[in-house]
């Protein structure tokens, strides 16, 4: 067991768990934050995507010890009222079907937009190809990312 301190969604957090435990399971089973999803356990599907120091990472292969002292953001902390530009676009365009992969899709898309204000289709392919959606919402995800870029450029207003 090890005591790991990090910042989670803006608040100081300490957990006492095995240092090898993936961040995913710390979030879901120990902290009860279930918005981050388990899909594959091998960084193949992206359902577990969170931000560590602003970068999109796969929490299923991120050992908890590696986030010590870092800042972690999950879907629960992305915005206060589901009004981050990416979420606003997702809601406007009704992107989710089953919705299971969408936390991960949204976190990856938010990270992309933070780095590129106007991503091209090629940028979207590159950034999003690690996030699987079995319902096949890709076309709407692409539209929503472009729409989110508009919303963001407009100061967050739809």
């Amino acid at each position: 067991m090890a005591s790991v301190k990090f910042t989670l969604n803006g608040k100081a957090q300490t957990v006492d768990v095995s240092p090898e435990m993936p961040l995913l399971w710390v979030l879901r089973d120990h902290l009860g934050m279930t918005g981050t999803k388990f899909g594959c356990g091998m960084a193949l599907c992206g359902a577990c995507t969170v931000h560590v120091n602003g970068d999109a990472v796969r929490s299923c292969i991120t050992q908890i010890s590696s986030v010590a002292g870092k800042t972690v953001t999950t879907i629960e902390g992305l915005s206060a009222n589901a009004d981050h530009p990416v979420q606003a676009a997702w809601i406007e365009l009704d992107v989710p079907q089953c919705g299971y992969c969408q936390s991960g899709q949204i976190m990856t898309a938010a990270s992309l937009l933070a780095k590129k204000a106007r991503p091209t289709d090629g940028d979207i392919d590159e950034a999003m190809r690690g996030n699987l959606c079995r319902c096949g919402t890709y076309q709407e995800i692409r539209r929503a990312i472009h729409r989110a870029a508009d919303i963001k450029a407009n100061g967050g207003r739809a």
Binding site: G35, L44, A82, G99, C133, G136, Y138
Partner: protein, 703 residues
């Protein structure tokens, strides 16, 4: 703001006055569907579907489940329209298992939600509206004819006084069920037929939706099960001492499906499982492999089987044909692979059992828990959770009974989670299949005979020697061919098989629409023209074929691109697709898919479009990459590196064109899956002259 919430239903009823309106839930399955006998229609009951709180909240109780296909929204549209409810006051709950209210089998299979509830829910809404008008009329002391409704209010047509539904709810709930309530004229629909926003989007975009895997109970333990890698095998002996030494592991216990590891987190349980030492009795399937299974089915298809269709005399017509064409097609096993792995949370006491599950079959979930506990079904409560995909996988509730066994062994509430590998290697698969075709053409190149011999495992029950779910898509072809014979031989290699989104059509439409393309090519005829002539007596199929040809600019693909067409009529809907592809140095790219669909009366065109896109992507993953292969009785794939799906960079542009129709609604969740494979492979033939007779395309030489 419309929200989808999970409220305590008894608390809700107790806390607020509730009106009642309910009517029979009729499961009317399509004639082809041989499950029909299991779905008799229950007697009419009240209070089944609508609760109105004194706070004006309208709660719809839906006896279905949400796996992305949209019933939370589309079924609410049916109720809200006839009830004349304010869309912004609507909440949705999933119904408990209740045969008296909802019939003996509750579940979501066969794209049936709208088809079966189209009339009962509208009638239920209309009855509720009538009761609210009656309650208002009594309050005002006026005849009911002097009232009308307006978006959650009853209005006195003389005085313009208004009473909200909530203020009338208690009085209305004491009224008897009205009889013979008229339904709206479709031209007056406010919600039906409109692209109403999904009720579940906001929660799903905020990470708040409660899927089965998100269930958390006080004092809950987490579990995984080690299962024999060979189908049908079992535990010979095991040593759990090293697993018990893993931090967080609380208990190791043998259960009927393997050895369970119970721990204080899912991860600890998984680590414990890795430390288990198990000797398996692998049983009789230990030498199975894919090549042997393929050979078994091919051998079976060399000999006559049980007849699924016989019109004219195909053998005789083949002998007299000007030209005879033969081909053998085959398709592999496929895994469903929904994004949410299987899981189930269970709390058992001596006289009760509660189940939290993402499940497509509520009734079977209840019954599985009853069987595993020995309790009566009435002592089991099923909490229907949102599903992270289903696609047929969650109609098999194998994960429920074993979770109950683990909870009993644990002595505390347990969440059982399957890993991705567990899911992929212990699925019930879309069956592998082989078909041997022969066709005869006359001197003008038109087919005079079609002969099809199918070998496929059975998974849906036999009738006169035929599993019609295994052959659907061939004996029911609508092409006008005067001599048509199809038969079936069951193959039983020992791999579990089950319904996979669009079921038998997923392989049989690939077979049939590819072979038809071969006939057109052999005749030197255009694939669309060829189909048009053979569909002269099938107006709805002909219509979608013509529409897709027009919208796709059939025959006028841009330079370097090639088109392929395919059609299907399944689940009461009619679908045609044109795929536009290129092949460069053997590398395939699917650029665009145009789809025309006639599913009768449309409830929500936006959800319909989502489902068409979804089915195309689901089918395209199988076309390009999907195969479950067997070696020594084991599935060789385990995760998305060996069973990959279509990803963002491979996504074609999809265009959907909907036929306007007043026909009864057809299904939509499975409508677009079958044609995509033959549309793509027929386009490959147009591009390269190579006829694709097996799937997937990965590792096939297209150069």
């Amino acid at each position: 703001m419309s929200t989808v919430v999970s409220v305590n239903r008894r608390g809700f009823l107790k806390a607020t006055g509730a009106t009642a309106a309910g009517l029979l839930l009729g499961f009317t399955l399509p004639e082809r569907n041989k499950l029909a006998a299991q779905f008799p229609v229950p007697a009419p009951k009240t209070k089944a579907y609508i609760h109105i709180g004194t706070d004006d909240r309208v709660t719809f109780i839906l006896p279905k489940a949400e796996m992305g296909q949209g019933p939370v929204t589309s079924l609410s549209q049916l109720l809200a329209d006839e009830l004349d409810a304010d869309w912004n006051k609507i909440r949705v709950e999933f119904a408990p298992v209740d045969p008296a209210l909802y019939g003996p089998v509750q579940g979501v299979v066969g794209s049936m939600s709208v088809r079966t509830l189209w009339e009962p829910l509208r009638q239920s809404g209309a009855m509720g509206r009538d009761m609210l008008r009656e309650a208002a009329a009594q309050k005002w002391g006026v005849p009911k004819t002097q009232t009308r409704t307006e978006n959650g209010f009853v209005v006195n047509t003389s005085t313009n006084a208004r009473l909200s539904y909530g203020s009338l709810a208690e009085a209305a709930s004491r009224l008897p069920d009205p009889q013979n309530v008229a339904l709206k004229d479709p031209k007056d629909f406010r919600y039906i037929g409109k692209p109403v926003k999904r009720l579940d989007t906001r929660a799903k975009s905020a990470g708040q939706t409660q899927f089965g895997i998100d269930t958390r109970l006080p004092d809950m333990a987490y579990a995984v099960i080690a299962r024999c890698p060979v189908f049908g095998g079992k535990v010979a002996s095991f040593d759990g001492s090293k697993a018990m030494a893993v931090p967080g592991v609380k208990k190791v216990a043998q259960v009927p499906t393997g050895v369970a590891v119970i721990a204080d987190s899912t991860w600890a349980a998984m680590q414990g499982r890795r430390a288990l030492e198990i000797k398996w009795d692998e049983g009789k399937n230990a030498n199975l492999n894919s090549a042997g299974i393929r050979q078994m089915m091919s051998d079976l298809a060399d000999h006559p089987g049980a007849v699924s269709r016989k019109s004219g005399d195909a053998d005789q017509a083949l002998k007299g044909a000007a030209k005879k064409i033969e081909a053998v097609y085959d398709a592999p096993y496929l895994s469903h692979a929904p994004m949410e792995p299987m899981n189930c949370t269970v709390k058992v006491t001596s006289n009760s059992c509660e189940i939290w599950a993402s499940t497509q079959m509520q009734t079977f979930t209840r019954d599985a828990a009853a069987k595993a506990t020995g309790l009566n079904p009435e002592q089991v409560t099923v909490h229907t959770m949102y599903m992270g995909g289903g696609f047929g996988r969650r109609a098999n509730v194998d994960y429920v009974g074993e979770a109950v066994e683990v909870a009993r062994a644990a002595g505390v509430p347990v969440k059982l989670t399957w890993s991705r590998e567990d899911d992929m290697q212990h699925d019930s698969y879309r069956p592998a299949s082989v078909v041997k075709f022969a066709a005869g053409l006359d001197a003008d190149g038109w087919p005079v005979a079609l002969h099809a011999r199918i070998s496929c495992p059975s998974f849906a029950g036999m009738r006169n020697g035929v599993d019609f779910a295994a052959v659907e898509g061939i004996p029911d072809l609508e092409y006008e061919i005067p001599n048509f014979y199809a038969d079936y031989r069951v193959a039983e290699p020992g791999i579990p098989t089950f319904f996979w989104r669009a079921v038998g059509y997923t392989q049989n439409t690939f077979f049939a629409e590819s072979f038809l393309d071969e006939l057109a090519a052999s005749s030197g005829k255009d694939p669309v023209e060829f189909r048009r002539k053979l569909l002269a007596k099938s107006p709805r199929l002909l219509n979608v074929l013509n529409l897709v040809a027009e919208k796709a600019n059939w025959g006028k693909a841009p330079a370097g691109r090639y088109q392929g067409v395919a059609i299907v009529n399944n689940i009461g809907s009619y679908t045609a697709q044109v795929a536009e592809i290129s092949v460069n140095q053997g590398k395939l790219k699917v650029h665009k898919v145009v789809c025309a669909v006639d599913c009768g009366h449309v409830v929500n065109p936006a959800i319909l479009t989502q489902q068409i896109q979804s089915g195309i992507v689901y089918g395209l993953s199988a076309t390009l990459k999907g195969a479950i292969t067997i070696d020594h009785g084991r599935v060789q794939q385990g995760n998305f590196n060996t069973y990959d799906l279509v990803r963002m960079d491979e996504m074609p542009l999809i265009e959907v064109h909907i036929v306007s129709s007043a026909e009864k609604p057809g299904g939509i969740g499975e409508a677009s899956v079958p044609p995509i494979a033959p549309a793509v492979t027929n386009a490959i033939f147009a591009a390269t002259g190579k006829r694709i007779r097996k799937l997937p395309l990965r590792n096939q030489d297209l150069a």
